[in-house]
Amino acid sequence: MHGKARIRLVRRLAVPAAATVLAVAAAACTGSSSSGAIGSGTAVNGHARHGGTITIGWENATPNFIFPLAPATNSDGYNVNLTDQMWPYLVYSGDGAKSIVNPRESLYTSISYSDGDRKVTIDLKHWNWSDGVPITSRDFTFVYNLLKANVPNWFLYVPGLFPSDVASVSTPSQHTVVLNLTHSYNPTFYTEDVLSTIQLLPQHAWDKTSATGKVGNYDESTAGAKAVYKFLQQQGGQMSTFATSPLWKVVDGPWALSQFTASTGYYTYVPNKHYSGPDKPFLSKVINEPFTTDTAELDELRAGSSLDIGNLPFNDLKQSGVLKSEGYSLASMQVAGVAEIMPNLYNATVGPLLRQLYIRQALEDLIDRPQIVSKVYAGYADPGNGPVPMQASGPWASPLEKSGGPYPYSPSAATALLRAHGWKVSPGGTSTCQHPGTGASDCGAGITAGEPLSLQLAYSSGLTGMAEQNAAIQSSEDQAGVKLTLKSEPFNTLAGTMGNCTAASHPASTCGWQLVDYGYDPYTGLFPAGAGFFNTGGYNNLGGYSSPEMNQLINATEYGSSTQAFFSYEDYAARQLPWLWIPDSDYIFVYRSNLAGFAPLNPFSGSNNTQDWYYTS
């Protein structure tokens, strides 16, 4: 299994690993019958049985930090998998395969917005920590105080958002928290994308500055909060004490850590006997076993070992028959993210080309997304019609996206567009600019006479599905004389050499890239906000796209609450192509056939809601 979808900043690193699952075999390309054998999961008949152990295989997963507020320098996405079983989020995202808030599993009873959506009132459930102490609003202010004093050093911090957007916090009662925000927010956005990233932490046990020191209210001063944060961060990296430190014994989630082997990343949970939530764990133990590769994991499954859950790479879909004979079932999980090819609008060589909307439109016209979904991903992928996933986005896919997006596959439309803008189109060759200039029928600013329509597409190496997909795109772009050169590199090499490029940074050494396919970008929460992706200067706006209209439309989705406003942003982004849209493939999981509660899979919990799993008798 893979890292979880809810990590705001670091999940990118998990993308290549995750994408490994999505690789596809040639057999799948021919429409393998195995594809039809996978569903989103079916109900398992039989009575729920209490007890039993489950072993989950994790690919290349070695959590290394247990304190839930990891430092800015720590990018290990698997830490979330380790911690959110013990310290769940205030707002729990996803209910089965439904992309909705799950109030049952959440820590609040109500969240209300007032004062023009500048004031948020959160009523907490009357739950207890594992040591019997009630969870209170003080635990929220503890988190807030720690983050406020240390915000640059929090790995999930997004500039401008929590806690920077909170003017003050008050706690009118033991179970009520009131946030006064610096400005009005769309309540849906704030609940689903901001409050869903906040975990409550036990102030009564963790508000201390040393292992032997007494618990106090140190967090209430800035200096104290810094000292507490420093102490907890130092303790949080001590892997040898993850399972033994008294600090980490105080949890409010369904599970408590019982073993952690620092050298291998192997760890186990046992039920938190004092869990106050609605779904008490059925299982008596959960074992998390790391694997170096998905192949090693698959070998373990095929050998009929003790492994109960693992992932299945696309190129091993043909193994589904063998796996079923070994007593496993298969389920797919949609991804709440957007897959894209990023264009660098400020590349010194091809920036002028990519800044032309009509060229981006032609490039998109030439991507045969339905064929990639069916042939490369055997049907297990979101079509990628725009910035919002069709399948895992709840109600946010607009009618335009549902109808196939603004740019359905059409080589003729691409050819016509290029010709209309002064290009000599050479199918199978390289098209060249014939009419330089800035007129309506000219190639556009900065494009010279005879300039070839030739681009380099870089992508992560080692991923069969991604390589096949980009080979297919290269082939289809060729139909209008768009010469795509493919270049694959290890993901981290790509990440290290490709920086944010804007008009101001041009021509920085890290702006040599032209087009890049990293994999996909997960949305932070249930609300597929465009902030950070397409707004000017957004942290993930690597290609330098900048449009006042886009900024205004994104602001309207974050600060207003109209569905129509969201669709306006979404359709504008879909048409403007700050990124080229491509299919976003699903994950395929293998699990014991007598394990109930595993499927259908929740895209937001990373299929990690183990408290709901049980064996049937």
């Binding site: 320098t73 990018s75 911090y157 082997t261 790391p290 090693a296 070998d299 290290g496 890290t510 942290y539």
Partner: protein
């Protein structure tokens, strides 16, 4: 001998320091940013600044190097950027795993290859020599990952006789307590090595068998078994000793494929992953280990020469 060893130790120190300097310069010449590589493409400028400040990457290169050398002299190899674990801890966790796996496979390979090479030399040109030569070439030219996959497919998936994973215990004792899990990875690594060692052993034994002292021994009526054990074996081993000495660095970090396939994270995988993530401290730490292993391996080979061939005496002019 002591003087010789001291001289070699001094040379080794110079070699290792030179290697460290070269590695330090080369990895910093690599294009790209360690911060972006570690934190990902969505890293904000603020996070990148904290990262660079935390690890001293905002300092001039010469100062970074001096700081690193100072750390190393104080026993501190730094902290992995991506794993957030001290490099010395990582090496302490991973090195024994590789020493066990590759050490066992090397010993097993020697136990098979040495008699095999002598046997082939004695039967040179015969049917058995041709068959074994063909088998050796086949083994030598087959990638180890293919052996691994075939062995897993047969013994784990089809026959369910052996587990597809290497031992998962964290200690050497724990790993040795699971001998079934060691069979496939050790066999995979040994198969390729047997092919290589046996070829060297065969060639060397053929040379020795043609020496006059062997003819003299035969003329004196010494039984073939004693000739082989006392004269051929000992004198034929020199090239293999060189080979084993040179392969010390491989023993500590050379099993990337086997580590991947058999789910056995060791030094090889650590080194490979560090290379793709700009994880400078791990790269430097691994280089240090490999450098020291190479030096020790060669030194051990030199000492072994002296033991095997009394004519070789170090430190005498």
């Amino acid at each position: 001998m002591t003087r010789y060893l001291a001289q070699r130790a001094g040379q080794a120190a110079v070699v290792v320091i030179g290697l460290m300097i070269l590695t330090f310069i080369m990895i910093h010449l690599e294009p790209g940013s360690a911060a972006r590589s570690t934190l990902g493409v969505r890293a904000t400028p603020g996070r990148i600044a904290i990262f660079n400040s935390t690890y001293g990457l905002n300092q001039p290169l010469y100062r970074q190097f001096l700081t690193y050398i100072d750390q190393v002299l104080h026993g501190n190899l730094g902290t992995s950027y991506s794993l957030q674990i001290p490099v010395s801890t990582l090496i302490a966790q991973r090195l024994p795993r590789d020493l066990l796996l590759l050490g066992l496979s090397t010993v097993l390979a020697l136990l098979i290859a040495v008699p095999l090479g002598i046997y082939q030399a004695v039967r040179r040109g015969g049917v058995s020599d041709h068959v074994l030569t063909g088998a050796s070439f086949t083994l030598y030219s087959t990638p180890d990952f293919l052996f691994a996959i075939l062995l897993i497919a047969l013994f784990s998936v089809q026959l369910h006789l052996l587990p597809p994973e290497a031992p998962q215990a964290s200690s050497v004792g724990g790993m040795l307590a699971d001998p079934r899990a060691l069979v496939l990875p050790v066999a995979t690594l040994a198969l390729v090595t047997v092919a290589s060692y046996s070829r060297y052993m065969r060639s060397s034994a053929i040379d020795v068998l043609a020496q006059e002292y062997i003819r003299v021994a035969r003329a004196k009526g010494l039984p073939q078994r004693l000739i082989l054990l006392r004269h051929v074996l000992r004198n034929s081993l020199l090239p293999v000793v060189t080979l084993v000495g040179l392969s010390f660095s491989w023993i500590v970090a050379g099993a990337v494929i086997a580590e991947e396939v058999f789910n056995y994270p060791g030094m090889g995988l650590l080194f490979y992953q560090a290379a793709t993530t700009h994880d400078f401290p791990v790269l430097l730490g691994s280089t240090l280990v490999v450098g020291v292993a190479t030096v020790i391996g060669n030194l051990a080979a030199d000492v072994a020469y002296g033991i095997l061939d009394p004519r070789i005496r170090y430190g005498r002019t």
